[in-house]
Symmetry: C2
């Protein structure tokens, strides 16, 4: 199995992707990684590590798509970028999956254009992994599809259910539609129509509310990309903001240094589930290939976990399962 | 000044409204409260308190609109309910404001129908008060308007700015439009149009994201009611969920009883800003009168604070200011 790794994506390249890739091959037997990006930069970084050179390959892709570049144009004009080349390698069967911490819009565009869509899928989607009291759960769409069509709600529900079950290990996942209230007649006309269509799915539990996310009332939360993106980014802002709130309270309460250290440690432990490094990344669901994206700030640990997640997606034939679920 | 208080609304009536009303008149000179609801129930509850009977009036309204009753129908059929009667008293000039912890939909419907809209307002709105690192800030619409029209974005921005400045004491409030990214061209067509219209306001700072709410990048966050309601309820779920996360971490770390108590105390202090009791309630902005709604679970403290907030709205002529801002 070969997983291609974007060595020129994210805020910390080439360090994070190179270090993460080297760690990943140590953690998983029969795995090779293919670092995609400017060869000289990659090799220079690789010289800092000990690794099996048969397991860490390099594919030269000199162009770089920056994090804030307009996606469609970048993908069209930078054919020799790591993002376009990585998806090209996947399409050509030179690797089994591709992971990146780079420009999400460019990655989605490149994956959709180059890999194509799976049979039965109207639009690929980006899912977000949300921490809950029961462990990580899935929320989608997380920003790729601001305008929904009715059939997309059902497709996202099916794709999300497959991912949550196969990759995240949640048995019998339940699907909830994010809305302003539980009753069937709540929400916009679009949501009322979505409710009706989702009712055909045996694992649809109905409308769920904002208060039901962190408590995992559902395992797969369905919404449009505007709602999903706002909820995702609000969620990501909770840990740092909380540290500020708690720091202030500690000051107000005149705690000793030891007491502050204890509180910080408890906070850190309790918020470890919010740590995006543990998750690594999320797949573009609905594209014909295993293509995953991680946070721009991905650490080596995050890259490693994203690579291992991609391996899991390949091994579990996730895309075959998705196609079967949509038939 | 007389503030009418719904004594038959919320999860804890008549206790919370009666206790809160009695406390409010003790806290504010020249204030009378008028408890609206079934007279016998109110008088029975009042018998538990010491109060100045000239300052605590009772208005008999025998019917009760429950928390989950369909709003429009309830308001139409239950003319002698506290919700309809309270707004009627306000319309007739028998009181200066009306507050309730009852059925929000019914309150909005009754306020809109009975009081009417302010000049220049297309649709009244419910705002949510969001805790941030800089203190409470305003987010609207919080669920009253799921379908927006372009002009409503600007009206909500103006009304929110007036409230935040006059009542919440934020000088030079900044307005942000909640979106998936900062750039002007981000978001749905509706949001792009809203951006263009909002640019006419001197205090519009552009698009803001989900991560900008808790950090108070803006003081007034504008969004449609679906987005606002989901963000509001997610926010409200943070404190109890966090307690669970921290409790688990404490267990995992084998803390002593004293250590757990310390951590709990710090957490409680730091989350006190999330406590809806401190806020009391929010006004229906855009209706022709001071009509406020609080959380269904409002405590006596919350009711008292909501009454004092209503006094502030009346004293600051908030509705005159809103009308002036929309001219």
């Amino acid at each position: 199995m070969i997983i291609a790794v974007d060595a020129a994506g994210g805020d910390h390249y080439p360090q994070s992707p190179v270090a993460g890739a080297v760690e990943a091959v140590k953690a998983q037997d029969d795995l090779k990684v293919m670092l995609v990006g400017p060869q000289a930069i990659i090799e220079d970084e690789l010289s800092n590590y000990q690794y099996d050179s048969e397991k860490v390959l390099v594919h030269h892709a000199p162009e770089i798509i920056s994090m804030d570049e307009p996606p469609a144009q970048a993908v069209k004009t930078k054919r020799n970028s790591s993002i376009v080349a990585g998806n090209g390698l996947l399409k050509a069967g030179k690797c089994n999956g591709f992971i990146s911490a780079g420009n999400t819009g460019a990655l989605l565009a490149a994956s959709t254009f180059i890999l194509g869509k799976l049979e039965g899928v109207s639009r690929p989607t980006i899912a977000a992994i949300y921490p809950t009291v029961k462990g990580p759960r899935l929320l989608l769409d997380a920003g790729a599809n601001l305008q929904m069509r009715n059939e997309m709600y059902v497709e996202f529900a099916q794709m999300g259910s497959v991912y949550v079950k196969s990759i995240m290990g949640v048995q019998d996942p339940r699907v909830g539609l994010l809305n302003v209230g539980e009753e069937e007649e709540k929400g916009t006309d679009e949501l009322k129509d979505a409710f009706k269509s989702l009712q055909d799915l045996p694992n649809f539990i109905g409308n769920v509310e904002g208060k039901d996310i962190l408590t995992a009332k559902a395992d797969v939360f369905i919404c449009d990309g505007l709602v999903g993106n706002l909820l995702l980014k609000l969620g990501e802002s909770i840990p740092p903001v909380l540290e500020k709130f708690i720091g202030r309270a500690a000051q107000k309460m005149n705690l000793s240094r030891e007491q502050v250290q204890l509180v910080s440690k408890v906070l850190k432990t309790s918020l470890s589930e919010f740590n995006p490094d543990t998750i690594g990344g999320v797949p573009f669901l609905g594209v014909n290939g295993v293509s995953m994206v991680g946070h721009g700030g991905s650490s080596p640990e995050a890259i490693k976990n994203m690579i291992l997640n991609a391996v899991k997606c390949v091994e579990n034939n996730i895309n075959d399962e998705i196609v079967a679920s949509l038939k």
